[in-house]
C-alpha cells in the first residue's frame, strides 16, 4: 500500500496534486473536531467581516465564522458522498454480478432497467423526491436516495467484466467441481471486479456531493446541516453577492473546487494505475 502511494507520488503529477488537495481536505475535517464554534449556533461572531487573520474566510450575515463552519460542511459533504457510494456500490455489484453471471432473460431484464436508469434525467426526479420529502430530509435519507440512483453506469461496467471472467478456465473448473453460482460470484469474480469498484467509488462520491450542492441550491436538502451546498444556499438567501460579501460565495466554492479536483485527479490517477499497460508507460517501462 505504502509502496503504491510512493510510486504514484514519484511518477504521477496528478496524484501529487490530488494528494496535496486531499491532505488539505482531511486537515479541514480533522480541524472540525477542535472548532471553537458550534456550527448550529448563529450570531457567535461579528457579522459580515471580510477575511482576516482572526477569521480566515471571513464571517457571514448569520454571525458565523466561515472557516470553522466549512470544516463541518466539508466533513458532512464527504460523509454524504461516501455513504451514497457504499449504497450504490452494493446495488451495482449485485446487479453487475448477477446479470453477468446468470445471463439469459435475467440479464436482459436487468440491463433494460439499467439502461433506462442511465438515460433518465436524474435531477428532475430527485427534485420531485426532495420536494415531497422536504420536511423529513436529512443527510442519511439523501444518501439513500442518491444511492438508489447512482449505480447503473457501474453495474454495466461490472457486468461486462464478469462476462469475460465467465469464459475463463477457472470459472469452468469451479463449476465442474460443484461450486454454487453464488459462491463463484463472491469468491472468484468479486476480487477481479473490486479494483473497478474502487475507482468508480470515487467518481460516485463526486457525483453525489455535486448533486447535494445542486439540491441544496434549490432548497431541497437538509438546510440545517452544514454542507458545501447549504453554505451556498444561505449565501444566496442573504444576497451575499449583492451585499458585496463575496467571501461568503468564494470560500465554499474554493473548498468545493479543492475537494472535487482532489477526488477527480485521484480517480484519474488510480484508473490508469489499475490498467497495467499505462502503469508501465508511466514509470517508463
Amino acid at each position: 500500500m505504502f509502496k503504491v502511494i510512493r510510486d504514484l507520488l514519484r511518477y504521477d503529477a496528478r496524484f501529487r496534486i490530488a494528494f496535496i488537495f486531499l491532505a488539505a481536505v482531511v486537515l479541514l475535517i480533522l480541524l472540525s473536531t477542535v472548532s471553537p464554534y458550534d456550527p448550529n449556533k448563529s450570531f457567535v461572531v461579528e457579522m459580515d467581516t471580510p477575511p482576516s487573520l482572526e477569521h480566515l474566510f471571513g464571517t457571514d450575515s448569520r454571525g458565523q465564522d466561515l472557516f470553522w463552519w466549512l470544516t463541518f460542511a466539508v466533513r458532512n459533504s464527504l460523509f454524504l458522498g461516501v455513504m451514497t457510494a457504499i449504497i450504490s456500490r452494493v446495488i451495482a455489484v449485485l446487479v453487475g454480478l448477477i446479470a453477468g453471471y446468470r445471463g439469459g432473460w435475467i440479464d436482459r431484464v436487468l440491463m433494460v432497467i439499467n439502461d433506462s436508469f442511465v438515460v433518465l434525467p436524474v435531477l428532475p426526479i430527485l427534485i420531485l423526491l426532495g420536494f415531497l420529502l422536504r420536511d423529513s430530509m436529512n443527510l442519511f435519507l439523501l444518501a439513500v436516495i442518491l444511492g438508489l440512483f447512482g449505480w447503473p453506469f457501474d453495474a454495466r461496467l461490472i457486468r461486462s467484466q464478469v462476462l469475460s471472467l465467465k469464459e475463463r478456465s477457472f470459472t469452468r473448473t469451479a463449476v465442474y467441481s460443484g461450486t454454487s453460482g453464488f459462491w463463484i460470484s463472491l469468491n472468484e469474480h468479486l476480487p477481479f471486479v473490486l479494483p473497478i469498484v474502487f475507482a468508480t467509488t470515487i467518481n460516485n462520491i463526486l457525483w453525489s456531493i455535486g448533486m447535494e450542492v445542486t439540491l441544496s441550491i434549490l432548497g431541497l436538502s437538509d438546510l440545517t446541516t452544514p454542507t458545501l451546498g447549504t453554505a451556498l444556499y444561505w449565501a444566496n438567501q442573504h444576497g451575499a453577492l449583492v451585499a458585496g460579501n463575496w467571501w461568503w460565495i468564494a470560500a465554499p466554492s474554493l473548498v468545493a473546487i479543492i475537494l472535487f479536483l482532489g477526488l477527480y485527479l485521484l480517480f484519474a490517477s488510480i484508473n490508469e494505475y489499475i490498467d497495467p499497460r499505462t502503469r508501465l508507460r508511466m514509470i517508463g517501462g
Binding site: L120, L123, L129, L132, I217, W246, A250
Partner: protein
C-alpha cells in the same frame, strides 16, 4: 431494409418506450411513498401563505389536486388514469399560477433551455473531439497539453460553481457580459437584429459554462479512443503514402473514433440536461431550470411533477432521435 427494421429499429423503439415507462412509473410511485397526504399539505400551505381563496376555489383545487396526484380509486385504476391524462397531454393547472396549465408554462420556458443546450452541447462535443484527437496525434504540442490540463481541471467541478465563477469574474469584476436574464429588461422578444444580438450576449456565459464543463469529458474520451487508432496499420500506411496529416486526422482517425463518442453523447444527454437546469438558476435564465426554482419556492407541486415528466419524455426522445441518426454515421448499421 427489413433486416434493418427488425435488428435495429424495433429494439430501439422498445428501449425508448421502456425508458418512458420506467420513468413515468417512478414519478407515479414517488408521491405515494411520501409520508404526508400531499393534497391537504398543499392546500394548508397555500392557505397559510395568505392566499385569499374562497371556499369554491379551495374545493375545485382539492378536486384538481386529487386528480393530479391521481389519488381517486384503487392504485391500479389510479395508474391507468395517470397514463390516460398524460397521453392527452393534460398535466393539470399550475398551483402557483392557477389556472394556467403546466404544459403551457413549460412550453414557454422550453425554447430558452433548448436554445442554450443544443448549441452548447454541439460545440463542446465537436471541440472536445477535435482537440482530443489532435492531442493524441500530436502528443508533443505544448498548447494542446495546456488545453488538456485546463479541460481536466474544470471537468469535475459542479455546473453551479463553474457558472458562479464565470458570473463573478465576467459580469462582476470585469463587467463585459450582462448579469442575468435572457435579454435586457424592458425589451420584448422579437426578430430584430438588435434583439438577437442582445439575446446572444446574454447567452454567452451560460453557454460557456456548459461548453467548459462538457469539453474535458469529450476530450479524454476521444484521446483514449484515438490513442489505439493512431498505431493501426491503415494509419501507418496512410502516413507512408504521404497523405496530409490533417486529412489523416479527420478522415482516418476521427472518423473511426466518432461512433463511441456519439453513443456517449446520447447516454449523457440526461446528465447534461440536469446540469443545464441548475446553471440557469445562476444566470437567472428563463428556461426550465428557473421554472423549477420558482416552482420549488412557491410550492408548486404540479409544476414540479410536470417538469419531471416532460424531462423524462424529452430526454428519452432526444436519445431515440440520436439512435435513429446513428446509421447515418455508421455504415455498418446501414449495410448489414
Amino acid at each position: 431494409m427489413q433486416k434493418f427494421l427488425i435488428r435495429y429499429l424495433i429494439p430501439r423503439i422498445i428501449q425508448f418506450l421502456t425508458i418512458i415507462f420506467i420513468g413515468i412509473t417512478i414519478t407515479f410511485i414517488i408521491p405515494r411513498l411520501a409520508p404526508t397526504d400531499p393534497v391537504e399539505a398543499q392546500i394548508s400551505m397555500m392557505v397559510a401563505r395568505g392566499n385569499t381563496l374562497d371556499a369554491q376555489s379551495v374545493a375545485s383545487m382539492r378536486t384538481a389536486l386529487t386528480e393530479l396526484y391521481g389519488l381517486s380509486g384503487s392504485p391500479v385504476q389510479q395508474y391507468f388514469a395517470f397514463w390516460g391524462r398524460l397521453l392527452r397531454g393534460d398535466l393539470g393547472p399550475s398551483l402557483a399560477n392557477f389556472p394556467t396549465p403546466v404544459s403551457e408554462m413549460i412550453g414557454q420556458a422550453l425554447p430558452y433551455t433548448l436554445a442554450l443546450l443544443v448549441p452548447a452541447l454541439t460545440i463542446s462535443w465537436i471541440l472536445g473531439n477535435l482537440f482530443g484527437s489532435m492531442s493524441s496525434y500530436y502528443p508533443k504540442n505544448k498548447a494542446l497539453n495546456v488545453i488538456e490540463v485546463l479541460g481536466q481541471a474544470v471537468r469535475p467541478i459542479p455546473y453551479y460553481i463553474v457558472a458562479l465563477v464565470l458570473l463573478v469574474v465576467f459580469a462582476f469584476f470585469i463587467p463585459i457580459f450582462p448579469f442575468s436574464g435572457a435579454y435586457d429588461i424592458g425589451t420584448r422578444p422579437n426578430w430584430s437584429l438588435a434583439f438577437i444580438w442582445n439575446f446572444i450576449q446574454h447567452a454567452i456565459l451560460p453557454a460557456a459554462t456548459l461548453v467548459l464543463v462538457g469539453f474535458g469529458g469529450w476530450f479524454v474520451g476521444m484521446k483514449s479512443l484515438t490513442s489505439n487508432i493512431i498505431s493501426e496499420d491503415y494509419v501507418v500506411y496512410a502516413e507512408t503514402a504521404g497523405l496530409k496529416k490533417n486529412k489523416i486526422l479527420t478522415n482516418y482517425i476521427m472518423r473511426n473514433a466518432m461512433l463511441p463518442q456519439l453513443t456517449g453523447l446520447a447516454l449523457s444527454i440526461g446528465t447534461i440536461f440536469s446540469g443545464a437546469l441548475i446553471m440557469e438558476v445562476v444566470f437567472g435564465y428563463p428556461g426550465i431550470g428557473m421554472l423549477t426554482l420558482v416552482a420549488v419556492f412557491r410550492n408548486d407541486y404540479s409544476m414540479i411533477m410536470g417538469i419531471a415528466i416532460y424531462s423524462i419524455i424529452g430526454v428519452a426522445t432526444a436519445v431515440f432521435i440520436m439512435d435513429l441518426l446513428y446509421p447515418l454515421f455508421d455504415p455498418r448499421v446501414r449495410y448489414q
